[in-house]
Structure formats: structure tokens, C-alpha cells
Amino acid sequence: MSARRIFTRPARLAAIAPYVWMALFFLVPFAFVVKISLSQAAIAQPPYMPVVMLADGWRGLVAAFGALSLDNFRLLASDDLYLLAGLRSLTVAATATALLLLIGYPVAYAMARLPRRWQPVAMTLVIVPFWTSFLIRVYAWINILQHDGLLNKILLALHVVSAPVVWLATDRAMYLGLVYSYLPFMILPLYATLARLDPALLEAAGDLGSSPRQAFWLVTVPLSLPGIGAGVLLCFIPIVGEFVIPDLLAGSDSMMVGQALWLEFFTNRDWPVASATAVLLLAILLLPLLVYDRFQRRQMRRS
């Protein structure tokens, strides 16, 4: 009956409500996504039919299984659109994540080097934008980037350009929006590992003959790998499925998977294909998600 065990039983009871909630509202719905993705459009079209007719009992279930088909996935495979959307999602996410790392690392590094009492202030400053609406932050950029927006005005006034540049509805704008929106997710895990780094390690590296630059590459970077991993995963995974930013900032000539799903669902009202797209997206993210899960668990064991 260690203190642990004294608390263990009530603590386990505490798990029941959130456990049931998450199982019902997070886990079980995936089954429906898979089920609908295998359904014929006719059955699953609105007005919405119940997905499983429990009243029909076992025979209903058998019938339901009989009705499953891979048609939607055949459609996905036959139309370039989805394949290209998948590829584009991956390249956009990879590029944006690389940019985020490139920009986020120096900021996190600088934060970790601030005098101790300034570090919480800097951290708050990085977190606060995360509290303001995502949509608003994207919208703020539309304000700045539009044809006669602030950016073009400044560029014209400085005679950097002679005619207004098209910023909106380009990949440039999308990357800007992605970097802007996800920067705190990159900075915070990086900062967390860098702040834990013992400065004596760098002094030791210097003492053993490394220049500050060598010490950075040989000591700081390897030791901050967990932070890099966490930051990369926290940005890469959601960006692959991003919808709002590419929808509002990128051009309409190419789509990401999230946009394809949105289009199928809201515009075409084709739920089975939307679900199949969701399954495709999940499949793309399966590996990164598993890595992320292992990461989290290792992190938890350490703490």
C-alpha cells in the first residue's frame, strides 16, 4: 500500500469518465469513417441513413458487410486528383516544417540563452499568439498580403517593386501562413530541451578545444534532437491535413488532401468519397502518428 498504491485506486477510477468519453467520441468514429468509405454512394447519401441498423440484428450486419465495396478507393486511385493532393500535402508539410525548424531554432535558442528571469516572459510572448484565433491570424495576413495591402504599399514606397506583386493565392502566401500559425508549436518544444541544456556542457566542449561553432554542432544540436523531433511532429502531422490555410491563402490550381476532403463533403456531398479521402489521409499519417505516440510515451516515462 505504497503512497502510490494508496492513490492508485481512486486515480484509476478517475480514468473511467474520460476513457469512456474518448473511446466513444474519438475511437469509435473512426470505425464509421472506414465503414462509410466502403459504402456505395447510394446508401450513404443524405438524407442521412443510420449507418448500422441495429434493429436488423445479425442479418443486418451481414447485409451491411455484403454491401461494402472498394469502389470509392478505386475512384481515388483512378483520379489523379487525389494522388496529387496526397503528394502535395506531403511536400507542403515537409517544406513548411523545414522552414519552421529553420526559423524556430534560432528563436528558441535565443530564448534559452536569455537571463533566467526573462525566459518566462519570452515564453509567454511566444504562447500568447497561440491563444488568439487561428482564423484571425490567417485573416490578418490576408489584410497585409492583398493586392493593395500594406506589404505592396511599403514595397512600392521603397521602390523595391514598380508594380504591386501578387501575394495572395500563391504558395508563398500559404507557406507564410503555415509558418506563422505553427511557429509556437515549433519553438516551445525546442525551447524546452534547449533550456534544460547544462551550459557547463558547452564550457566543457570549449575547454576540450571546440570553437563555439563546433560546440553548437557537436553538443547543442545532438542534445536538442528530442526537441527537434517533437517540434517536427507537432507541425508536420497537422499540416499534412491542413485545410484553412491553403484554402484561404494558396491558389486554387492545386489541392491538399484536407481540401479534397472538404470539397467532397461540403461541395459534392459525397460522403463515401470524403470518408475514403479521410482514410487515405490517415494512412499517410499512420507512420508519423506512430512515431509521435512512441515519442509521447518516452517523454512521459522520463517525467
Binding site: 500500500m1 505504497s2 503512497a3 498504491r5 494508496i6
Partner: protein, 382 residues
């Protein structure tokens, strides 16, 4: 007495039985037995120290007394009542935590009053008791401070006052002075001892610092690998260790491994290869064992340039010769390492620097005679 905790019958003590009896207690973590069939009696009013290297199970034992761990087997009797099945809040013992575990959201007074409120003591009495405790640990004027506004020494005293406020039958202290610096530790040792004497309380202290245990405790239980190696007063522990491990763990010791050559009542002659016969009249006889070690403390070895004039046949003195190899100057004493003739062994001798010029009485390389009394030797099973 406004003791809020129901005190079990006190007669057990008057019968002369122990206040706390630990019987064959076992605690396993996985396959490792942290406490392995340990039995121990602690008397009322005693200052008892559990001493041992880290990982020996002493903290686990203390936590079982507090109720944070339940023994897998055995009983823990307090005044004759088995408290092993009781939860921590049901036991009339209190603990002072190594980290102090002061509640950061409560003031000094709030921390001290915490346990009294739980016991349902009336407000007025709580106020009195808190004031009394604050005075006891000399924290007057700091009642409204939060723990993070206190120095390390002050926190230590709040933790002590909080644990004492409920007038526990036994106070458990987990490395109570571990977080203090050396100077403060010495003065706090005296205070703690003084407090325990004045209140007549039973203290069980866990420590890894043998000086601390020696200075404060009435008795010391030395633990190793989940078992008690020896339970004794500090003096007995040092002068009459029962095992090689104890002799080496408590203080410094020279150890000569050999075979019993002659056994005559309490007198031993032990043949040590490369050294010769060593005479010993130990306090304890490792009966029936031939492979033994002769242990002698460095401060009991005397050095001189020439061998003592005493009768060479006198079996009460051991005489060895060698060359000074190294001198460790420690201020009050110097520790000489002597390479014994035949290069079979070295001997450490601690010599008090009683005069300023003594410090380098025997330079390195000096041929020297080392001698020690058979009465000062301890013979231990190997």
C-alpha cells in the same frame, strides 16, 4: 492532554516491552527484496538511527513505519497493536520528510496547523499549539511567511514543528539534515537532540551520514541489502563490529586476512600470510570459524622509530615493521601508510598531531616500527 490522536494503551511500555516492534518484515519491489525479513525493537524515548548505504532499504523501512508502504510479510507493532494494515492517516506516528514537503500554498502557521485541523482540534487549542510549536523551533515572527520565503534551516524547522505538532508516539525523520550545509548541520544536530531529550519523544532517523548517527543516536541499526547487520550503541558499533562489512562501513579499518593458528580461551593467534602471527583478544569469538580477519583501527596503531622495549614474547602486543610510504595530513591527525616488510600488506596508522612539530615526525621512506595491542584487535569471520 489535548492530544487529538487516540493514543493506544500505554501500559505496554510500562511493562518494559518495546514501544515499536518490527517483526520479520519483508518488502519486495518486483524481484528485489528492499527489506528482507527484518526484526527490530525500539524503546520508548529512544533516539534510534537507521544507518546504511543508499539502496540498503532504510528509507523503505521508514516508509513502512509511516504507512506509505505496506509490508509483504511481517508485523509492525506499536504499543502492541499491529499498525501494518493501517493507512498513514490512521497512525499515531508522524514523519519529517527529506524534501520537507512543506505545503507551498500555506503559511508557516498553516503548515503547522494542518495536522491539528485534520484531527478536529478546536480552533483555540490549534492557535495555542501552533504558538507553542513556533516557539519550540524558534520561528517567532515568521508565522505568516510562505515556505518559499524561508531559508533552508528555517524550512527544516517548520517541517520539524509540523511533524511534532500532533505529538506523535514516534517521530520518523528521513535524512533530516541532508539538505543543510555542514556548519548548520552541526548546530541543528545539537538542537534536534536537545529537543528529543526535552520532549522525551521517540525518534527514528534515517541517515547515510555515520557521523550524524554517531553523534545523535542512542542506538544505531546498520542496514545492508535489506537486513540489519548490527544494532548497537555508537560505541559498540565502532569498537566491536560484528562483521567485516560493518568494520569497513563504520570508520576506517586495517584488515588482515588469515587463519586461526591457536585458540586459547579468548586469546587468538592468527597466521597472516606475509605478515606473520597476529595476537588478538577480541570482544567476540567467531566460534568454529578458521578463516578470519583481524581488524584494527588506524588510531589504535602506534608508530615509533625503534621497536618498543617491551618483552618480545609478550603476546599482548603485535609488532610489525616497515617503511613509511605516504603521509596524509588531516590537521588534527596525520594518516600514515606503512608498507610492511615483505611487501605483503600495508598498514594505516593515524597519529594525533599533538605538537606543531610532530606533523612530520616520520618522513616518507623512514623505517618504522608499528605496534598495536591485542586487546584492540577484533577478529571477524571472513
Amino acid at each position: 492532554m489535548a492530544d487529538a490522536i487516540p493514543t493506544p494503551a500505554v501500559e505496554a511500555v510500562s511493562h518494559g516491552g518495546p514501544l515499536l516492534r518490527i517483526e520479520q518484515v519483508v518488502k519486495r519491489f518486483g524481484n528485489v527484496a528492499a527489506v528482507d525479513g527484518l526484526s527490530l525493537d525500539i524503546k520508548a524515548g529512544e533516539f534510534f538511527a537507521l544507518l546504511g548505504p543508499s539502496g540498503c532499504g532504510k528509507t523503505t523501512l521508514l516508509r513502512m513505519l509511516a504507512g506509505f508502504e505496506a509490508p509483504d510479510a511481517g508485523r509492525i507493532l506499536l504499543d502492541g497493536v499491529d499498525i501494518a494494515p493501517m493507512l498513514p492517516h490512521q497512525r499515531p506516528v508522524n514523519m519529517m520528510f527529506q524534501s520537507y514537503a512543506l505545503f507551498p500554498h500555506l503559511s508557516v502557521a498553516g503548515n503547522i496547523a494542518f495536522g491539528l485541523k485534520r484531527a478536529g482540534m478546536p480552533r483555540r487549542e490549534i492557535g495555542q499549539r501552533v504558538a507553542e510549536m513556533v516557539a519550540l523551533v524558534r520561528l517567532e515572527g515568521l508565522e505568516t511567511r510562505k515556505p518559499d520565503q524561508l531559508s533552508g534551516g528555517q524550512r527544516q524547522r517548520v517541517a520539524l514543528a509540523r511533524a511534532l505538532a500532533r505529538r506523535p508516539r514516534v517521530l520518523l525523520l528521513d535524512e533530516p539534515l541532508g539538505a543543510l550545509d555542514r556548519k548548520l548541520r552541526e548546530s541543528t544536530q545539537r538542537e534536534l537532540l536537545d529537543l528529543q531529550r526535552r520532549l522525551g519523544l521517540t525518534f527514528v532517523v534515517v541517515t547515510h551520514d555515520q557521523d550524524e548517527a554517531m553523534t545523535m543516536a542512542d542506538r544505531i541499526g546498520v542496514m545492508n541489502a535489506g537486513r540489519l547487520e548490527q544494532v548497537a550503541t555508537p560505541r559498540h558499533l565502532y569498537e566491536e563490529p560484528v562483521s567485516r562489512w560493518i568494520a569497513g562501513f563504520v570508520g576506517d579499518v586495517n584488515m588482515f586476512d588469515g587463519k586461526v593458528a591457536r585458540r586459547d580461551g579468548g586469546r587468538f593467534a592468527v597466521a597472516v600470510p606475509g605478515v606473520g602471527l597476529l595476537n588478538a583478544t577480541p570482544p567476540r569469538d567467531p566460534a568454529g570459524v578458521e578463516a578470519v580477519s583481524v581488524a584494527i583501527r588506524p588510531e589504535k596503531v602506534r608508530l615509533s622509530r625503534r621497536p618498543p622495549v617491551a618483552d618480545v614474547a609478550d603476546a599482548s602486543i603485535n609488532r610489525l615493521e616497515g617503511v613509511v610510504r605516504d603521509i596524509g595530513y588531516l590537521g588534527g591527525a596525520s594518516l600514515y601508510t606503512v608498507a610492511l616488510d615483505g611487501d605483503a600488506a600495508t598498514l594505516r596508522a593515524s597519529v594525533a598531531n599533538t605538537a606543531r612539530l610532530d606533523a612530520d615526525a616520520f618522513p616518507v621512506g623512514q623505517r618504522i616500527a608499528a605496534w598495536f595491542s591485542a586487546d584492540d584487535c577484533v577478529v571477524l569471520e571472513r
